[in-house]
């Protein structure tokens, strides 16, 4: 029998110290801790910040009014029905439509997980990129890990993933697309990296979203161009990027499709600029 682990702590620092001592392998890999706090109380604080009425129009922007409830929902600290009931009690169903639809994505992935089990780690369908699965490499490139690609956006996302354990949905999509379509990384390797760090890391939501980006669960690969990233980040990264104007994401969607998926005779890749394509 293992002995009981501690439950009483003087403060957060005390708890963090203890967890670090108890899980030295994790602490040795990366001793940093997210500012995102666990627990139902913290979840309720976050829920009370939700601006449902601004959600639909701003959610695609990095500084938009997203809920940041995913870590609590992931661990069932709050369940989807509770969150849904909370928003429906405070706004009209119509005002909540987009938000409840997003909650639906989680329910959908969970239902698929129940059906597929470990199958969420396998390509659900062939890639629609013109490449076979063997084309993609297994090792996460060092410059991605360390956030030293030179692309300010991707380097910031990599750092945020490791430090905060949270990335905005759009940043997850861009980073995943960059890794799979520009760096030819197997989506499984990227997915595992995300799961190590995301506080809301969930095998179903994560892996199936990676598959959607990669095109192994969906009709087309997801990709984006600089204009799209610049718009939804309000130029935050592009403005200070030395590669601005000649980065890997420059060009029209047709040009990029041609470069990224040259083996596709008739490019089927769907650009990511419009919410429909971008957001499934």
């Amino acid at each position: 029998m293992s002995k009981d682990m501690r439950r009483d702590f003087t403060d957060r620092a005390d708890l963090i110290r203890y967890v670090g001592e108890q899980f030295p392998e994790a602490a040795a890999r990366d001793g940093r801790v997210s500012p995102i706090r666990g627990g139902r109380r913290a979840a309720e604080v976050q829920l009370n910040r939700l601006e449902t009425h601004r959600y639909a129009t701003t959610r695609n922007f990095l500084n938009g009014s997203v809920s940041r409830l995913s870590p609590y929902i992931r661990y069932g600290v709050l369940n989807l029905a509770q969150v849904r009931d909370w928003v429906l009690a405070r706004a009209t169903p119509h005002q909540c439509e987009k938000f409840v639809n997003e909650l639906g994505w989680r329910d959908y992935w969970q239902r698929l997980y129940l059906k597929l089990g470990q199958g969420i780690w396998e390509d659900r369908e062939p890639y629609k990129t013109g490449y076979s699965p063997q084309h993609y490499q297994d090792t996460l490139p060092e410059d991605i890990q360390s956030g030293t690609t030179g692309l300010v956006c991707m380097d910031v996302f990599s750092q945020e993933l490791k430090i905060q354990g949270y990335l905005h949905n759009h940043a997850r999509m861009w980073l995943a697309a960059y890794l799979v379509h520009w760096r030819h990384l197997r989506w499984q390797t990227g997915a595992k990296w995300f799961l190590e760090h995301l506080i809301d890391g969930d095998p179903a939501s994560n892996n199936l979203s990676w598959q959607w980006v990669a095109s192994t669960f969906g009709a087309k690969p997801y990709f984006f161009n600089r204009e799209n990233l610049e718009r939804y980040t309000a130029g935050l990264y592009c403005r200070r990027c030395p590669l601005y104007g000649h980065c890997a994401f420059e060009g029209s969607y047709d040009d990029l499709a041609h470069n990224l998926f040259p083996r596709n005779e008739s490019p089927t890749a769907q650009p990511g600029r419009k919410p429909k394509a971008k957001r499934r």
Binding site: S2, D4, V33, L195, E196
Partner: protein, 145 residues
């Protein structure tokens, strides 16, 4: 079941979860799963977040193999069964199967987001949502438009 123990896992860390609500007096256990820890290589920040959730729950926290720890805990409390909450994880189902060889296991469900038991086509989100939406809004969406 008259004297169950609660097995709390990472898909329901709600202090008002159905297991706590239905069995407020039952001893509850969380196990840091050695197997998952090795497999997932979770970062310290994820472990801290989970730990912060746990300290708000009335649970004993241990570390080891899940099945062995749950059964030991059950013996310590002379339990006649195990109560837990549903999870889509295949490992969960595997653990339940083994636990059931020793004790009866009751799996409680949290309130569903989509309260519908019929068939839903999961091939694509759009097909799922076509059916699920009305249930997700409890029929309210169309009324308000």
């Amino acid at each position: 079941m008259i004297r169950p123990i609660l097995w709390v896992h990472g898909d329901c860390l709600d202090p008002q979860g159905p297991h706590f609500k239905n069995h407020p007096q039952a001893p509850a256990l969380w196990v840091w799963d050695e197997r998952l820890l090795a497999e997932w290589q979770l970062s310290l920040k994820r472990l801290v977040f989970i730990y912060e959730c746990l300290v708000e729950l009335p649970v004993v926290i241990r570390r080891g193999g899940v099945v062995a720890e749950v059964l030991t805990f059950a013996t310590e409390h002379q339990a006649d069964g195990i109560v837990t909450t549903a999870s889509p994880s295949p490992l969960f189902r595997q653990y339940v199967k083994v636990l059931e060889q020793s004790l009866p296991v009751t799996i409680l469900s949290v309130e569903p987001f989509v309260d519908y038991d019929g068939h839903i086509d999961l091939a694509r989100f759009s097909r799922y949502w076509r059916v699920a939406q009305a249930y997700a809004f409890k029929g309210d969406l169309n009324d308000s438009k």
